[in-house]
């Protein structure tokens, strides 16, 4: 028995002897927490498609940075951040002032921008490898500098959500109430869009643009099934997301599967369990 325990601890510790695994773990946990907290609002406000579109729309921005910097990875965070904020506010304006329905407008822009990004990256010879890193993430290549950026910007996001907790809750539950209480509704809506944009930039290296929406909605949806309070939904979502990050990375290490996919599959597994548990309990 004791032998088994030692083996198990060995299995847990062995990957951590590599610094890139340590950094990957920390990044996955931080990104998980940030995505889950912001994702709570995405789930409650029905913005999953917006989040997915936003993640895809930043690809040309990353591609431009990638071409200009000649393949350097560290500067890409800033390109992602700038494009994401621009795209988030841009999608907001277009969907409001368009004669076409909002989801159609978002769909057109999202696919167009995504295609532009792929076209730009395809001009480089090693494009297949690089493209797959942008699409599906490459958490094991997170540099110490990148980790600091994730920590700082993730911290800013969490502080903002904390500071405007009652405003965001009121606005999400009852926009008309927010308006009659004369809260700055437009400002708060745009602030939330910017928060989602920064979250997308922060998470880019961990899960990539194509799987981003899973980190934004899956852990939060899991928590939604299990709790009846907004604050506990955020805490529980953050717990599921960071746990998915850790388990996903071990799976990735031992089964040699792509890290982003392993993290998302773990999060999906938790959702299935919660969904099944809820069904058996409810029925």
């Amino acid at each position: 028995m004791k032998g088994n325990m030692t083996t198990f601890i060995d299995l847990l510790l062995q990957p951590l002897q590599y610094e890139f695994m340590q950094r990957g773990m920390i990044a996955a946990i931080l990104v998980g927490i940030v995505c889950a907290v912001v994702g709570t609002y995405i789930v409650l406000r029905g913005m999953a498609f917006f989040g997915d579109a936003l993640a895809h729309t930043i690809l040309p921005g990353i591609a431009l940075g990638y071409l200009i910097s000649g393949g350097a990875r560290d500067v890409l965070f800033w390109w992602a951040l700038g494009t994401a904020i621009l795209a988030a506010l841009g999608i907001g304006v277009i969907s409001k002032n368009s004669q076409i329905k909002e989801d159609t407008a978002i769909g057109i822009i999202f696919a167009g921008m995504f295609a532009l990004g792929i076209a730009m990256i395809s001009t480089v010879r090693s494009y297949a490898v690089d493209l797959s890193h942008f699409l599906f993430g490459d958490v094991l290549s997170v540099s110490p500098q990148n980790l600091w950026l994730i920590l700082i910007f993730g911290g800013i996001i969490l502080l903002t959500v904390f500071a405007f907790y009652k405003e965001f809750m009121t606005l999400s539950f009852d926009p008309v109430l927010a308006a009659t209480l004369r809260l700055p509704v437009t400002l708060l809506n745009n602030l939330l869009l910017v928060l989602i944009a920064v979250t997308v930039a922060v998470s880019l290296q961990t899960v990539g643009v194509a799987l981003m929406v899973a980190m934004l909605v899956t852990p939060s949806a899991t928590a939604y099934l299990l709790t009846h309070r907004l604050s506990s939904m955020m805490v529980l979502a953050a717990f599921f997301a960071s746990l998915s990050g850790v388990i996903g990375l071990y799976l990735s290490y031992y089964l040699s599967i792509a890290s982003g996919a392993a993290i998302v599959l773990t999060a999906t597994g938790f959702f299935m369990l919660a969904f099944g548990w809820k069904k058996t309990k409810g029925a």
Partner: protein
């Protein structure tokens, strides 16, 4: 602090003049003029699509009129936090992860101001509001576990926590069973003692006639506004409801709503 307007107490609580609301070439409200006194209780009655909800939203300052003036205690509604708008129950996301006390506390968001968290005094406000509407035992319930009548009471408690002086309610009685409706109407009596002015959109002519001081008969234009026996005269009803009105054999007038949720008939004697 978020911006608040101060009240000029000598002004009527609500003064609406020559109000027009048009969107996309469609006229929702045309030339509406009226005023309300503090503590009054008014029912806004009319067929579906008559512009009742639009009127309430313009008064709440949530919707901008195309022309005309709306003033609350002498100034525009856009900065007043004394107006509570209680939505139709069908427009609320009842799966939202909040307790009854959370929702009532939302009413205090404006008074709290940015970056402040609820203090002891605010929780006492919430507790007191819940006691007034008699659901303090449900404070920690998730909102989906409430009955229709309790849901309405929760929103009235939220309006009380907001310290609202003008309460706008959109079809609060729709879909409630008779005891819940009676309970709610009794509760509105309690509010009158607190000098809260109440404006209710309803399509139940009988309840409007028996429980409200004045009735506004609306069909895009204001057909009549006055005490129930005057406002609900046959000629006025015919003007407001047109072909959807018929006289039964025993002499009662029945307004037949064309697209109502319950497809019910509204009786008036």
């Amino acid at each position: 602090m978020y911006p608040h307007s101060h009240h000029q107490e000598d002004q009527p609580i609500l003064d609406v003049r020559h109000l027009n609301v048009r969107y996309n070439g469609y006229t929702a409200l045309e030339n509406i003029t009226f005023h309300l006194h503090a503590g009054e209780r008014v029912a806004v009655v009319g067929p579906n699509g008559a512009g009742k909800s639009t009127l309430l939203k313009v008064v709440a300052g949530v919707l901008q009129p195309s022309s005309g003036d709306v003033t609350i205690f002498g100034s525009r509604p856009g900065r007043h936090v004394c107006i509570a708008y209680i939505p139709q129950r069908s427009q609320v996301d009842w799966g939202f992860p909040v307790s009854v006390a959370d929702v009532v506390m939302m009413g205090r968001s404006a008074k709290l101001g940015p970056l402040n968290w609820p203090r002891k005094r605010d929780w006492e406000f919430v507790q007191h509001a819940l006691e007034t509407v008699q659901i303090s035992d449900l404070a920690s319930r998730q909102i989906s576990q409430l009955s229709g009548g309790q849901q309405q009471r929760m929103f009235i408690a939220r309006a009380l926590a907001q310290e609202a002086e003008l309460m706008l309610m959109d079809e609060p009685l729709t879909g409630l069973d008779t005891p819940s409706q009676e309970g709610l109407l009794d509760l509105l009596d309690t509010l009158r003692e607190q000098n809260v002015t109440v404006m209710v959109a309803t399509h139940d002519l009988e309840q409007a006639a028996s429980h409200f001081d004045r009735i506004m008969l609306l069909n895009h234009r204001m057909v009549a506004f006055g005490e129930p026996h005057i406002a609900l005269q046959t000629g006025n009803l015919l003007k407001a409801y047109g072909g959807r009105l018929r006289t039964t054999e025993d002499g009662n007038i029945v307004a037949v709503d064309d697209c109502c949720d319950e497809g019910e008939y509204d009786h008036v004697h």
